[in-house]
Symmetry: C2
Subunit: 399 residues, 2 copies
């Protein structure tokens, strides 16, 4: 039987491909430190579990296709506290930020259409875009420029008649870049002038360091038709397994087109929406201050530990909970296999995410990795120590 | 901004388009009887709520992309009890049967590819297929033939170089058709001989009347590469709002391609999978006998009530919980608007699903409706009584 050309050009997840080796290492008694997956160890808020436990209906019935009113209202109120006048009709509840992205791409891309994406990017964007027949046109960024990209001279030459949208992650995954007010304005202006969607994936919104303001692209009322925000409870509330996200836009036509897709899959999970509503309402309090300070400590520990490794270069992140690092090795994937299959430091080893999948040309990411700092500072420091010893052993073995 | 050609040819849900009129009727104090939506009133099994309440982790973390082991094992064991030797690697957990269908279509269809579907069909199939660039080629069926379709002379002339799959719902929605053993074998043979996928949506599997055997297309070992089964806990366990489905196939390449899509959206909800595993394990007992007898009573009541309406023709269903009926009116959608906006019988009115969305050529379904029998027998009888009086009033008004 024949498979679609669209799925054949998609790849398997670079985060998950080392899983069999990890299982084998664990079976040999090796303790594996995880600097690879963005799965925070911070507890999911108790209000989520309370809401799920207190569900009183005897039947877990279909929810309305766009979301249950309590959830949509909690999201609307949250954005209003951020200063954005949106209504419940501007919001669609989705299966995580992932489904919001899938729906947006299905609504706007035909075969051969292009989406501009700052590179390195979140690897799953590639699948969301390719499965609709579209393709990523990368906006190159560099560690030397702290991964900033918002200037016209870099972006406008990439726009052509196939360009449909610019997709950014702000705060950035995997780079940790956070756009300044001026840079955000530039991105909005480019989208407006070229009649493009500006899709802003803001699932790390609250995780910004150095006193930066928590912001959203929805603030720009003059580009309401262009701006589409993707959001999720996953990272914000350490609730990745609940799969509740949102697509938010004041573009009425996009809401209508995406509603066709929402209706076709009927609804997202009823209980999880009740729990998610309770979590959004937590943000009325100072709940986030403590979470943010934990991530800031973790970032500081990672930056300090990583600075000690000879030949490793990286940028201190401005937001989110990842660092992109360049390693003094020929191939980070080969290093990862070596660390899982041939190496240990006192019975321990470490995993990270090789960055090839974050680049259109995989060779550009060959000696680069993404490190997630979502566990306790001592574990992070130990993981980096093992990484340093692993790099030494890997290079010594080859020499 | 431009939208994709693919989404532009998709439609809004015919089940949900009358919602604003329903809200307005309720606001006028009219009680609305629901014969339109397949939302059973049977209680979701207590084991689901127990599993969700007893979730002990402090963090609702990502599940594995293909599903949690407890869920996959429960599904595998269930199929083994049905006599099918499948392994956990043949199963992917999906956001309801809906996502399984979306994934399958994305994996096999490019622009212009065709899927054969017996008509009338479940309207959302049209969206799942069109959003990938594909198109439905209908296999016409009639009430006079009890909606049966499994004969070569009807199907083979429809197969051409664009045909990629045959998609059936068995037991059928909206027709209630249940294929005989011989008919199932015919469908399998056609798929094999023409190198097509046979996608069998079996979400109503247990709901078969008259002592028919509970069966699945996975029984045909000689066509393991061709057969793909879509399943869900929604209808079987009256748990539509949990959004847990499965894609099951022994076609390893399809599992690999679909895994790319599973990995890109990370996982389905963790808690709901634990609850779904507990529900599948219920089927080790005689749990279903009672559920089935309730549906059989409801079907009998609907058949009896509907038989009293002059000019209404229909077929007694063999499975699932819907009846397709032909009404003595010019246009079932106009009748539905009339019933919601201008009519009441002692302060009550009724909703059904006009069948236009179940036909490639909407005119073929103009005087047809789908009735769901998922509430208690007295409500069903009263709903049908109102329908009869509404038809009279509608036709009298026009005359």
């Amino acid at each position: 039987m024949k498979f679609s050309r669209k799925v054949e050009v998609c790849g398997l997840s670079p985060v998950r491909k080392f899983y069999p080796c990890e299982v084998a290492a664990a079976a040999r008694g090796i303790q594996v430190h995880h600097l690879n997956i963005g799965q925070p160890d911070i507890e999911t808020p108790e209000v989520f579990f309370d809401a799920v436990r207190n569900f009183e209906d005897k039947v877990v019935a279909y929810a309305p296709a766009p979301g249950i009113p309590a959830f949509l209202e909690a999201v609307r109120d949250y954005y209003q506290r951020l200063g954005c006048e949106i209504s419940c009709d501007d919001i669609l509840a989705t299966f995580g930020g992932s489904e919001a992205l899938q729906m947006i791409m299905s609504c706007i891309l035909d075969d051969g259409d292009e989406v501009l994406v700052p590179e390195p990017y979140y690897p799953n964007y590639d699948t969301f875009i390719r499965i609709t027949g579209g393709v990523i046109r990368p906006i190159p960024t560099t560690a030397e420029e702290s991964y900033h990209y918002a200037d016209r001279s870099r972006i406008e030459p990439l726009i052509n008649e196939h360009t449909r949208a610019i997709l950014i992650t702000n705060p950035g995954n995997p780079t940790g870049v956070v756009l300044s007010e001026e840079e955000r304005r530039t991105m909005v202006d480019i989208a407006k002038e070229h009649d493009l969607f500006l899709i802003s994936d803001e699932v790390y919104r609250e995780i910004v360091y150095g006193g930066r303001r928590v912001s959203t692209m929805l603030e720009y009322d003059d580009a309401a038709e262009n701006i589409v925000v993707v959001d999720s409870v996953s990272k914000r509330f350490s609730a990745t397994g609940t799969r509740v996200g949102t697509l938010v836009t004041r573009n009425k036509q996009l809401i209508l087109e995406a509603s066709k897709l929402c209706q076709s899959r009927l609804c997202i999970a009823t209980l999880e929406q009740a729990g998610a509503a309770a979590m959004y309402n937590l943000l009325k309090s100072d709940y986030y201050a403590d979470v943010l300070s934990q991530y800031e400590q973790r970032k500081d520990m990672l930056v300090e530990s990583l600075s000690k490794l000879p030949g490793v270069t990286f940028n201190s992140p401005e937001g989110a909970f990842y660092i992109m690092a360049t390693l003094p090795v020929d191939d980070a994937e080969k290093l990862q296999y070596f660390l899982l299959e041939e190496f240990d430091d006192q019975g321990e080893t470490v995993m990270f995410t090789p960055a090839e999948g974050s680049y259109s040309n995989p060779a550009d990411g060959r000696n680069k990795i993404r490190i997630a700092y979502v566990t306790n500072p001592a574990d992070i420091a130990r993981g980096v120590e093992i990484l340093g010893r692993g790099i030494e052993a890997y290079n010594a073995r080859k020499a």
